[in-house]
């Protein structure tokens, strides 16, 4: 009895604090009037696909009104967790990453959408498989980002490098090319390449292209990718990690101001470049090539993350919410997403044509090959240990990249810590 009381008090107190931050409930549907569903999303003004999906859905379903619940991108995961803990009834929830999706799905916070997911063709829906939780689905993907190699056409031309050279680039070729493209000094220096400070640039690439397991606890498969990156840094062809981190350098600044000739980055960056080109913020003539590979056998393996919509279990308008989720992942939804310059999960030829038909999108063979990788591996495997492993790998990545630990010591420490601290 005493234990129960204590537990209840603790739970109630913590919940009271959490719910203070939560959102309100969605409005009641009028019996014969239009229904309103609320959609939790981030940075509405600067994330064009949200508006494209909402506008498109409302046009197709005038009886359902959609109200965006805009949350700051950086706070999105925390805020969503808090909202759900407080019993929030926001109808549709955007699943920003698969790790959080797995948490919400397995804890019964989302409505099952297994039937709807199984009706989709997995061959056409990139990233759909990532949402399977023990045979069940609780979300449908509408967007799938994966990594490609962006390049500055002008800088390549100035160096006399034909763009066709990027067709089947190995990491060794990439390093040689980056060194040859580096020029200048001080403020006017142009780096051959820019690799952002995220650990995924090195680690997820290595895992995807070697078949290594990021949750496994043995990280020898990182070695070649780290060795190449550290060598690029040492040669001066890559902005030092320490400088990028301490200066909080953004990858957009490095590429869109012409400070870097090459840059491995996700497909989402194309939408930013399109918008910045349109508004005159950048004049960089850019192209997209497949991510470099370990061997030049013509096959492209990259990594990426899908984004999905799910329906809150507490939704008061579950049917309308499900309709929204289904529409977003449908051909009409994917076309709307592609028109916004963002890569949809459903990639049929007409949708790809829509994307490449956008003004400013490089439509050459290289870009089209970049857009059709043979294999897209999930950036981080989903599991209850993912979050803890991610923290350890990030910490050790910092030490290796700043030279605080040798590569061998860093790799050994990653393995040791993951085995000891996560198990």
């Amino acid at each position: 009895m005493k234990r129960h009381l204590v537990t209840t008090i603790a739970g109630a107190a913590a919940l009271a604090l959490l719910t203070a931050c939560g959102g309100g409930s969605s409005g009641q549907a009028a019996a014969d009037g239009p229904q309103t569903i609320k959609v939790a999303l981030w940075n509405y003004a600067t994330t064009p696909e949200f508006k494209a999906i909402i506008d498109g859905f409302q046009q197709a379903n005038p009886q359902i009104k959609v109200e965006p619940v805009d949350i700051l991108a950086d706070d999105y995961q925390t805020k969503l967790t808090t909202m759900l803990a407080g019993g929030d009834t926001t109808d549709v929830l955007t699943m920003k990453n698969v790790i959080d999706y797995a948490r919400f799905g397995t804890r019964g916070q989302l409505l099952p959408m297994t039937d709807q997911a199984k009706a989709l063709d997995p061959a056409k829906y990139s990233g759909l498989k990532a949402y399977e939780l023990e045979g069940k689905y609780f979300a449908l993907p509408y967007r799938q980002d994966f990594w490609v190699l962006y390049y500055n056409k002008t800088l390549l031309k100035q160096a006399g490098v034909p763009e066709s050279k990027l067709q089947n680039l190995t990491w060794a070729d990439y390093a040689t090319l980056a060194k040859s493209l580096t020029k200048g000094d001080g403020q006017s220096k142009v780096y051959g390449t820019y690799q952002h400070t995220w650990r995924s640039v090195v680690q997820a690439t290595a895992a995807a292209q070697t078949g290594g397991n990021l949750l496994g606890g043995d990280y020898g498969f990182f070695k070649d990718q780290y060795a190449m990156t550290l060598d690029l840094q040492k040669s001066g062809a890559l902005l030092p990690w320490a400088t990028a981190k301490s200066q909080k350098v953004t990858y957009n600044t490095m590429f869109s101001t012409g400070k870097a000739a090459l840059m491995p980055m996700g497909t989402w960056y194309a939408a930013t470049l399109l918008a910045d080109t349109k508004s005159g913020k950048t004049k960089v003539d850019w192209g997209m090539a497949p991510l470099p590979q370990r061997t030049a056998d013509g096959k492209t393996t990259t990594f990426g993350s899908p984004t999905a919509f799910a329906v809150n279990k507490n939704s008061k308008h579950a049917d309308a919410a499900k309709k929204f989720v289904e529409w977003a992942s449908s051909e009409a939804g994917a076309t709307a997403v592609a028109k916004a310059g963002v890569t949809p999960s459903l990639q049929t030829q007409p949708i790809l044509d829509t994307y490449f038909g956008l003004p400013g999108v490089p439509g050459d063979a290289l870009a089209k090959k970049a857009f059709k990788p043979d294999d897209v591996v999930l950036e981080m495997p989903v599991g209850d240990k993912s979050s803890d492993v991610d923290q350890i790998l990030t910490e050790e990545h910092e030490l290796v990249m700043t030279g605080q630990k040798s590569l061998d010591d860093g790799l050994a420490e990653m393995s040791k810590r993951v085995k000891n601290e996560v198990g």
Partner: protein, 319 residues
Amino acid sequence: MTTPVSAPASGPASGLASGPGPAAAAAPRRVRRRSRTWVGWSFILPNFLGFAALTLVPVIASLVLSFLDWDSYSTPRWVGLANFERMIHNDTFWTALENTAYYAVGHVPLTLCAALGFAVLLNQKLKAVQFFRTALFFPYITSLVAVAVVWNMLLSPDMGPVNQFLRAVGIDHPPGWTTSTTWAMPAVIVASVWRDLGYYMILYLAGLQTIPAELYEAAEVDGASGWQRFRHITLPSLRPTTFFVLIMLTISSFKVFDLIQVMTEGGPGRATLVLSQVIYREGIVQGRFGYSSAVSMVLFVIVLTITMVQFRLQRRSER
């Protein structure tokens, strides 16, 4: 053994009361005292309610949560001391504890000495003294993110003015500061001393202005040097201020979170990871509210113990 509440009324003092008799005089006095008590309570009640709702209840809830396994979704599960056991065997907890102590040992004396030094200096009749006082206080009211950004720029390994200066004076390989496991914590300490010293300097300035000028005049007549005047008059007179500053600095040092979060995020590696960040990561990011609460309880006990020791030492020195 216990003294009855009405005892004073029947004691010698009651005999002095005018009026019909001791018993009749005691009753209105009791009523008056009771009504005064209620007036007193009514003054502190709003504050106490705020304290209870925003501090006391969360602290008690946190204490209870530290014995539970709870992720904010599922039903809380009683796990006894398991969270504390996990903490004892967790390398990250010990690293964070060590870093927190390192930060406090650096931050408290440096801020205290700097604040005292500037307060003594700016208590003189100098030109533009108000300007210097304001300038030193300014970082304290500046946005913390701005402070962190400025220091990150100053300490940038390649382009920062600090390293450019060091290279100019012949140090070819200056440290990476916030990206060096050796120098990240000193860099954070220096930035936080710079940010905090203005506030504590104001406290010392207030303390300095309560010292009677006659004491200094008399010492000067007796031929005491500047150092002797500082040591034998200023320092002892500032003892209550120093005690207050010490308590406040210790508490804020152990609770440090914001500046480190913005400047280094606890890195590189875990070089600047402190207990408050462990609490945040485990609770808010990972959703392990039980473990997070256990760490916060340890932090609470550490701060409470150090504060109590400081109070005891202060009392002993006053005797």
